[in-house]
Symmetry: D2
Subunit: 361 residues, 4 copies
Amino acid sequence: MTGNTFGKVFSITTAGESHGPGNVVIIDGLPAGLELSEDDLKVDLARRRPGQSKIVTQRKEADEPEILSGVFQGKTTGTSLAILIRNQDQRSRDYSDIADKYRPGHADFTFDAKFGIRDYRGGGRSSARETAVRVAAGAVAKKLLAQLHGIQIIGYVKQVGDIQAHIPDPAAITTEQVEANIVRCPDADAATKMIALIEQVRDEQDSIGGTSELVATGVPAGWGEPVFDKIKADLGKAMFSLPAVLGVEYGIGFGCATLRGTQNNDLFESEENRITTQTNRHGGILGGITSGMPIILRCAIKPTSSLSQSQETITRDGETTTIATRGRHDPCLLPRFVPMGEAMLAIVLADHCLRHRLSQL
Amino acid sequence: MTGNTFGKVFSITTAGESHGPGNVVIIDGLPAGLELSEDDLKVDLARRRPGQSKIVTQRKEADEPEILSGVFQGKTTGTSLAILIRNQDQRSRDYSDIADKYRPGHADFTFDAKFGIRDYRGGGRSSARETAVRVAAGAVAKKLLAQLHGIQIIGYVKQVGDIQAHIPDPAAITTEQVEANIVRCPDADAATKMIALIEQVRDEQDSIGGTSELVATGVPAGWGEPVFDKIKADLGKAMFSLPAVLGVEYGIGFGCATLRGTQNNDLFESEENRITTQTNRHGGILGGITSGMPIILRCAIKPTSSLSQSQETITRDGETTTIATRGRHDPCLLPRFVPMGEAMLAIVLADHCLRHRLSQL
Amino acid sequence: MTGNTFGKVFSITTAGESHGPGNVVIIDGLPAGLELSEDDLKVDLARRRPGQSKIVTQRKEADEPEILSGVFQGKTTGTSLAILIRNQDQRSRDYSDIADKYRPGHADFTFDAKFGIRDYRGGGRSSARETAVRVAAGAVAKKLLAQLHGIQIIGYVKQVGDIQAHIPDPAAITTEQVEANIVRCPDADAATKMIALIEQVRDEQDSIGGTSELVATGVPAGWGEPVFDKIKADLGKAMFSLPAVLGVEYGIGFGCATLRGTQNNDLFESEENRITTQTNRHGGILGGITSGMPIILRCAIKPTSSLSQSQETITRDGETTTIATRGRHDPCLLPRFVPMGEAMLAIVLADHCLRHRLSQL
Amino acid sequence: MTGNTFGKVFSITTAGESHGPGNVVIIDGLPAGLELSEDDLKVDLARRRPGQSKIVTQRKEADEPEILSGVFQGKTTGTSLAILIRNQDQRSRDYSDIADKYRPGHADFTFDAKFGIRDYRGGGRSSARETAVRVAAGAVAKKLLAQLHGIQIIGYVKQVGDIQAHIPDPAAITTEQVEANIVRCPDADAATKMIALIEQVRDEQDSIGGTSELVATGVPAGWGEPVFDKIKADLGKAMFSLPAVLGVEYGIGFGCATLRGTQNNDLFESEENRITTQTNRHGGILGGITSGMPIILRCAIKPTSSLSQSQETITRDGETTTIATRGRHDPCLLPRFVPMGEAMLAIVLADHCLRHRLSQL
């Protein structure tokens, strides 16, 4: 009831804090027979890992996943699969500063209001550290989707500050293009500018926001449920459950506000017994159910709240004070958000992939 | 598993189609002792009802709610509460047109892909008709929130096409201001222009999109869960579960993409033992948990897909054809969206209001 | 969270009290394409109905089911299916007696302790009246199981007081044998004695307990989940969720306590590529998963708590008083339990039937 | 959806196999502020552990629990709490025998039927090894119940084979009495006979069944839900979810079948503003809700299926063969069942303890 489980058929339950012994995820609902090993988890974990480039946090975390159960002789058994990622950087440190002060933009105050107690070491359960096991579970979901339907999940950075990438066809972007630069923007020119901007704000002890676009291709028509569990609803929840996400839109998104029906409707057509639409303002989702067109969504990510420059704030007792976050934080969350967003997209699709088996007699 | 239930403690389960006998909601988790009668449901049902003004659909639906259970001697009993709203307008009609054609922007094709069968009368389960019982349940949630915490839920239309309302302080808007005009925009000048625009697009056999802003005031700090069931995540799911919503943002929303941390962080301050923030770009939610500041979110609503002018489409067999929607549809969904959005906001808050009782020893 | 939903894929959510407007069930998870009408529900509802014979309560309830949604052109649509059964016998009556007194063996006191308020008319939500919609939902589950797998669900009365039926082969019992007498015991000699005993206790203003045996044949091997959702666990919950059930056992049941492993183990054998066991002390369930052998379980049902003779009790204020239940109650719950038990057995199997689709890649 | 989660508010999700790296449980819903350390888990784990006495299996398992999350500075944080118990005895061994043969009474065949693949090492997920983390979670639940309400949970062995313990007052039994002998039967005379019988069947390469009684005292009136989540239903599911349980009854249990209402009804009385019943045939549960009287239930446990003597069986291919279980197995499951049953009883009560906070306004 404290919301550590996500998904209904393919579901993940997680535990772990930033500076405790480790993080763990239990995946329930994975069918038997999928080939899987720790190696399958490592690619995306490396993409999420701190210290991967000069424009992300320089903390050290090895992120070595250990599969504790659910795999036998290289294949999933159909029983619950647990993955453990131990925390490395648990050195004892002086936390007296953040123990008593509320960092602006963080969950320090709200955790105290909720629980009356707070693991203040690195943000505890509110730290983005918890997303490591989501990314591991997402890698499992991706493998399931790829094997069963050839589905591909691709995310990238669309915007950092005022710099917007030009992406003529989101469904044509490849992982190689995304991974070609450290900011994970497939528009090389924009990427160069984004990297420069991120380095600039970092040098100014500041941070910067942005948007990320996520695409799934190969999803069959007919996935999703009609009312509360619309694909768009589950995706909305999935994305907003990630730290720092302030907005989510799919297809034309907020752009629909200024359109007329004649401008917005995507017209159906039929090619070789396959029904498609001429355009994709609906982002692959109609009535909450997939249409067979690429699923496209975007998330708005706020600038990192942790700043190494001094900010005004208050103590737990309401006294005015200042705080500067020690340690090394991401000047921009976007490059590391990409694998997190992809993971949640994959997890939602894996859930609905399996749920679809229940629709017809 | 087909997603007809929403919420974990205060939860609603719904059934019903556009042209079947009726729609029903079962509310589970409503505590015993709340005064409640059918009259409590009627105000919001009237605000959602077709035919309420010249700028909405002119269909006739009485929307008389009947409480079937869960209330005794004027008070809730703590057991499941069912509300039935019969459909009135069930006259048999010639549906051969939409039975075989896929309306652009609708769920006709995707329902067929999912279920292999489709109740085509008025969209069946995909019709916004299903939101009537959500609004009834939302009225119950509003009453619970008002009685326990004095919480107020207000929604209004923020934008229609290019016309934007000027709302200096969302938290100061009153129901009276919203209900002062038929488009439900508290900026009177903008409202006049919106009404004119809606009438224009209606006369041109077209439709128009827009945005709605939703505000909850009086919500205590500490509601919401840290990981998957963040308040923002549940609100995101709630809003995206409503028909025609293509985007959701809270606080500064997509505007965060161009801000720096120093510009975006809301600084804490303490007044008379109450901790607040100097600004509210975080929309009342930090780390997925309420901060005690007003909750503010916005939804993007697409232009109505049903158009009375002819549109190209295909038949179930893939043959090219045209379709013009007969019957009278909303030229703009926004005025009737407001009570739907409020209902879902109230339902999410009622759920977390009760869940908060479980947080501490 | 108040437990009005049962099942995970094929799930039912119910509402309704004994003397309110009616009872309703929403079935979620029923696949599209099953032929269904109200007629399919009426046979079992008639078997559960009061007034069906001289040995059950003589209350009048018509139990006319109305399908409110989820069926179109005679087939299920895959969306939520609601069934409404109105209460007929709602005449206002003088309830002052039971309003203030706690009936022995009933939930009057415990409801007050839980909710602080209680719909005392006929027991309100604690009345067995709520099982009417379970039986309706069970009829839907039975139809699904019969169509997909040819599964048959049969229940009967095994024991009333000291009278035990002799049932050489539970899996061979037919509905016709069960319905051949009003006590629903397929052993005709035992049935005659049971009826005489029930009439005797009724005449003595008393009641009598008994046991019922439930059998499912045709269930394939492999249904059920390994740990918490073992078939036996879900069946246990299902049966204990019915009023008056004090004990549940399957296969050899409590008889296993005195057996040795060599006496209890059922040995496997293989016939024409089908694996079976030579005996069925395991009641068709091994490790919580179906073995393909008939599922056999038994429930112990307590004697009706309502007695027309005077019993000692106390008032809400703790004052000593006496109570005699007016109205006409079942002198023995067993004959009407049979369709309730069958319904819950069918609902559990329908749930696991669908869940089984998720087990393998 | 594969049923690795139990409980709704206080809920546990488990993973792990007999011979994999380890077993893990994530507890969700534990309120913040409970003092907790690994030491709290060790007492019950030692009671469940193999090798604890001469009448249980002599396998070696250390069962050292590690709390991975959810505790900070010795108190629970209100976030998910994970406990890891590594498996020690993972030496590679020759499993070719059980890999291809179906052990009578085990889940080998049914797992193959369900998943098409099976971790045959020690039974994999079907092994009682998975109950170690249940017992750890149960210890947490016990501590919560004791601290909030002074509730005590006691289990003991009631019967082994034909030897029945004489327990005049189940609610008066103490842990010390239970732990006074290795069979965990508080009737010393019966215990001596039980131990002798267990040693005898072990020497005869056989096994023996029995029953266990479980008691909770101090539970307030008013816990449980009226319909599907009756306390008795959740307890029934909890107990049947444990390996080898073939029957569950509470209060008078199956004994009710031969009673009349006048004999079975427990009459209310009031003492010093506390309402009790003169007798407790209802086992502390009326209408599925606790009455404040001691909760009493009994489970029937089958004789261990694994036998070191040779039994007939078949191979996966249906060929006739024989099998004798190597390794050392419990000749009687009862002594080690006691902490498992207590754990599940505690987990159910902890769940309803917290759910009760939601009942009233």
